[in-house]
Symmetry: C2
């Protein structure tokens, strides 16, 4: 039981077109030095025979797989799906395939596991997403072995190709927005602090306070883990404090949703009793009540751009580190303090 394709080979196309196999190959690969007339004949034969190149043969001969691998270790299913879709957006028109590989960023042998994938499937390059981009050992291994890769939001954008976003500026902006609404006791629920994103967002929060002349209080900062339940826990801590904040900025939407969940559980109305905002603009941001004020990170675009940078280098061009803009999404979960 096996898929059998027409089994038309370049050979057959060549015969029909009245040229050599090599010429068919040239046309198919858009190589120069083919007369327009010859090209046409070949293309016509390809068409009439319904010829489809055999990628295995091409890979074997050229020692390339025309495959990229997307590596991830992110609890957010929507994040991974958006990124994956973006990578596919980039791969499709350039005739590359994509493999996906979930990895545990805390595994001590993560570099070996990655190399095992590289040996088995031989992707031409890799795309790393946070928090895998934080694994120094992994990045070093890939660089040492000369394996091309591209990063989404790496710790050090200057040293990699891929895509990044000014998360600190975004976090600063959303904090400033809370200030504009009249809030002064603004709490922050951080992400897992080993992730750069958590640091960037905390930095932005502090900068937002500084710009408004509001003192930074560690009592208003609670550590989360980027998960829903850590948002619930953080909110519990904050609600128990003597002087409750009037607004909470959670470092991602998942935690912000947890904060809202706990607020409801605690009998607090959002935004009347407390304003809540998040970060990412994941689908849930619009599906909770009230809709969540957040920062939109264009994950699909970022996946596409990261993949494009990688493909550029694979095709002999140049890969860069691109920066995408963010958008502040003002919704109903935040309100003016003197409503």
């Amino acid at each position: 039981m096996r898929i059998r394709i027409g089994d038309v080979a370049q050979d057959d196309v060549a015969r029909v077109a009245g040229v050599s196999q090599k010429t068919v190959s040239r046309v198919l690969n858009n190589e120069p030095n083919v007369r327009a007339k010859t090209r046409e004949k070949v293309l016509a034969a390809v068409q009439s025979l319904q010829y489809h190149p055999n990628l295995s043969a091409r890979s074997l001969a050229s020692n390339r797989s025309f495959l990229v691998a997307l590596l991830y270790d992110n609890p957010s299913q929507s994040y991974v799906m958006e990124t994956l879709t973006g990578v596919l957006d980039a791969c499709e028109p350039r005739n590359f395939g994509m493999m996906v590989k979930p990895l545990d960023s805390n595994a001590p042998d993560i570099a070996e596991r990655t190399m095992s994938l590289v040996h088995k499937r031989r992707p031409d390059g890799l795309i790393l997403t946070p928090p895998l981009t934080e694994c120094g050992e992994l990045l070093r291994t890939l660089k040492d072995r000369g394996i091309p890769f591209s990063c989404v939001l790496p710790h050090d954008p200057a040293e990699n190709i891929g895509v990044t976003m000014d998360e600190s500026a975004a976090a600063c902006e959303i904090t400033s927005y809370l200030v504009e609404l009249g809030h002064r006791r603004i709490a922050h629920v951080t992400g897992r602090m080993s992730h750069s994103a958590a640091k960037w967002r905390l930095d932005g929060y502090r900068e937002g306070l500084r710009l408004a002349g509001i003192r930074y209080h560690t009592s208003l900062v609670v550590q989360g883990q980027f998960t829903f339940s850590s948002g619930v826990m953080a909110a519990r801590t904050l609600f128990a404090s003597r002087k409750r904040p009037t607004a909470i900025f959670a470092a991602n939407d998942e935690m912000a949703t947890g904060v809202m969940w706990e607020a409801a559980h605690h009998g607090l109305m959002v935004p009347n009793d407390i304003s809540v905002c998040g970060f990412d603009d994941s689908p849930m941001a619009e599906q909770v009540w009230p809709p969540l004020t957040t920062v939109r990170q264009p994950n699909r675009d970022m996946g596409r751009i990261a993949a494009d940078q990688l493909l550029n280098t694979l095709e002999g061009g140049e890969g860069h580190m691109r920066t995408v803009p963010y958008t502040l999404c003002k919704r109903e979960s935040t309100d003016s303090i003197v409503a």
Copy 2:
């Protein structure tokens, strides 16, 4: 710029092991007729040389790709991710790779698009997820051309291999649960009626009513689209009716969340003013307030099982249609009517 592997070939292993290349191939493919001693020698050589087989060469020679393609057209990112993860669970240990392919189930040329993928990437088989399993033309094309495929929740389980679940029974059970809680005016928000799942769930709802001796009222059934916003709209319709239902069973969690959203918007308390339940047990079910009563569909398991059935047939074994059990998840979004 290209990944270069050690480039150890079977040839090299054969030389080191002191056997022929064919024997190395036999050992690697677990073929019979190799002396234990010989096998050991080969394995030792493989180990010492860090040999990794070249899949392209293997594919070219054997005319198999060792690849399956997961086809989807589902708006729920968590659904796709869970299924994909399940498929990966099955592929990993059997050394198959997975491609993913988003498709538009409404495209008139869906069969051609699929065949185009088949011609380009030559997967050994396909895995179809709803609603692609509803595309008669696609299924027919695949069968006609002898392309192996496996289905998740196909319209007609008896005619395919893969995995299914008794959705009607599950819908009946959750309806009965509402009845147990004392509800009699129970509304249903259907999914997109062209999907079998929508029909099965509606059937189960009707059966649940019938078992309780409650008459079926079309005024209590509103058409949705399986989307969040269609849930919002449906709730709006139901809340506007003269006699509001005391409970709403939405055909999936996405719509149930929309119903809850609209309830909040409308100033109705869940579950005090109205009970709401869904179907799927997607991650959001536990993240909304109050947590959503729903039916758990084990999507990851289903992905794994569907893939396993396909791989069985690809490896010369038998593929079956498996049935997985569901679980009723009782949470706080539903309550007794005389609380």
